[in-house]
Amino acid sequence: MPALNKSSKNGRPATTQRLTVHRSFWLAFLATIVFCLSAVQLSAQDTNPLANDPKASKLGEFQFRSNCAFCHGLGARGGGRGPDLTRAQKRHGNADNDLFRTINEGVPGTAMPPNGATQQGVGMTDTEIWQVIAYIRSVQVKAPAQPLGDAAHGKQLFFGTAACSTCHMIEGKGGRLGPDLTATGSARATDYLVDSVRNPSRRLAQGISEAMKEFSQEYETVKVETADGQKFVGVVLNEDHFTLQMLDLREQLHLFEKDKLRSYEKSRESLMPAYDQNMLSEKDLQDILAFLLSVGAR
């Protein structure tokens, strides 16, 4: 017994112990490989592991309806809140892993939240995200959308005779009374853009969702008269029950306490004129859309 103890602390012959060490090293090594592989399988994948699984896009549709359609619409066709995802061109990357990243991490500075972070719904597992990507691919048009109009002419109109830039900015140039349209071409469905030009009051820029209501910037029209009789018309930047932050037609910023105002009237009649066929022909509208799409795609 004492001799055995001398050869090995735990009572086993030394050779066996070395073998055990070797075996556990290899097991650990294998486990690491398997772990890395499965991690790659799940998230760091370049292409959708479920791309060839016919069931995946159907399952992805359920996920899409409950997690994405609120902004991106049924059928992924977009709307007033989120981009039309049936377009081949995606602003934040077209590859499968780009879509995965966009869905999982969100897009900072936009209304696109990280997966599960909206605090309203459930969120998705990696597998479910891949299912959603499979679904998006199944409804996506094959070729990149070819703008119908002439983008160069659209740009001239935007900054020229159509006077869009009086109130809208693109890449730092233009006015401040309406939404910055730099990203709008890629962030809104085409029919929504057409509707916004022809009938700007039908739907003012919609709030994103309740959680972001504070910064929804719906560009509601506001008229105020101060206690000393000054009158201002402009757009609401933000408000709560007690205060109002607005920009007047001369782009002056005003910060008011509502109970100190003589009058305060808000309306959802947009300050933007409705561009009918006489003001903007169908062709010119298509040119402006082509310009917006070309800027949005950059």
Binding site: G73, G121, G207, D240, H241
Partner: protein, 535 residues
Amino acid sequence: MKKPTMKELLHASLLLLAASAFIASNAHSQVTPQRLLDSAKEPQNWLLYSGDYSGHRFSKLDQINASNASALVPKWAYQTMAGGKFETTPLVVDGILYATGQDDRAFALDAKSGRPIWQYQRALPADIRPCCGRVNRGVAILGDKVFFGTLDTHVIALDSKTGNVVWDATAFDYRKGYSITLAPLAIKNLVIVGVSGGEYGIRGFIDAYDAATGERKWRFYTVPGPGEPGHETWEADSWKIGGAPAWITGSYDPATNTTFWTTGNPSPSNRGEGRAGDNLYSNSLLALDPDTGKLKWYFQFTKHDEHDWDATQVPVMIDQGEKHLIAQANRNGFFYVIDRSTGKLVFSNPYAKVTWSTSKDAEGRPVSLKEASPTPEGSRVCPGAAGATNWMSPTYDPQTKLFYVTAREQCDIFSTAPQPYEEGHAYYGSAYFPNDDTAPFWGALRAIDPDTGKIKWEWKHPSPTWSGVLSTAGGVVFTGDAEGNFIALDAVTGKALWHFQCGASVYSSPMSFAIDGKQYVAVAAGSALFTFALP
């Protein structure tokens, strides 16, 4: 026997004094079941989630009143440093404040200075995916322990002086979509909780645990199994994944030894196909025996729900002479008054915009219109999916005899699609969408006369809020809004008396307490717990 010396006598008396002082202080710091029953006798403390067993969320403190509320100032703020919605209602016992935070935090503070005494955070598994935020609404207290439910569906007892875990009971496997977010209710020696998970096809239940040991004493399944009454209200095997979670704290009537709990939507929330029937006891008020968990009676607000209209609003007990009632402003847009001895409906009246019902049945219950059912393309229904109100607490003020509730004016487009059930995965049967109304959604605090269901006054919110309401004996009602304001209103007129900008939407129900004769009001917003008092 030797005569004791003066020194020995002094020693003995000091010891006696110390011992009696120890016993006295210990007895004082121990929250006995009797103290919970008599909570009205100690208005300086807030011993239960709703302030008392009746669900009133009314404070008898009157130092802050309609004429001095304009002078309120912040006293301290405690930062959890956590993101997400901060939904807690703190408890205060003898100068110590106990509350929970996001991601299953719990903490005890010196309620006067806001300084932490202890802080606890549960090591949650990485794969929990609770619906609707990693939230918690508060603790229950009994003896020398505080109790809370966790996002991985455990019930935990913490030592109230140190935050040490005393016991940890597993209620269910969180991987199947269960979680706990409500503040437990302590009755006698039991800690009663219900589960969340109506988005996953769970089978809801209410549990009672022995406060001393964590041993489970009873479980009431909110979806009856084979052979139980109510089982016939479920098609085929749909009961197994029928939902009906119980995720808001109940109330308790000691006179009849009955605890009242409410339940949420049947699963899947947006699809009735496959679960034909009333789907008991989803969207119901349950009267249970707290000793055994036996059902005494039930009242179902929304039968065979397809709009996610959980009845998980704190049941508020109101006594009018000989009449013993329960009032609830339900998520479906109707205000209900129910006889709490029998479970029979007294009346129901809409308190917000309702389009899903235009008629009532023989018992006076609103009947759902066929065209209100979700369709594949979507159908527009008011109230929307988040409801005419939600889990945020209403309040009943016995002085004004008014019931105050946060109302949400928002309609939605409800769509439906077949969806296979997969254990632990979201199971909605489709979704809802914002509607294209030209008018934006908005909200209001409404004061309802529970005698008639008529609205006495309203305070308009620019957008719907998730803040609950507190009423106080000073004639001041407190609430918050989505724009971050915490607001004091005159309980009689609804006029604003004071407001404070918290810097983040309020997703919690306020409460009040007092220390050294000074009244405080507390509310959670963003990642901070704020307290206010007169200067």
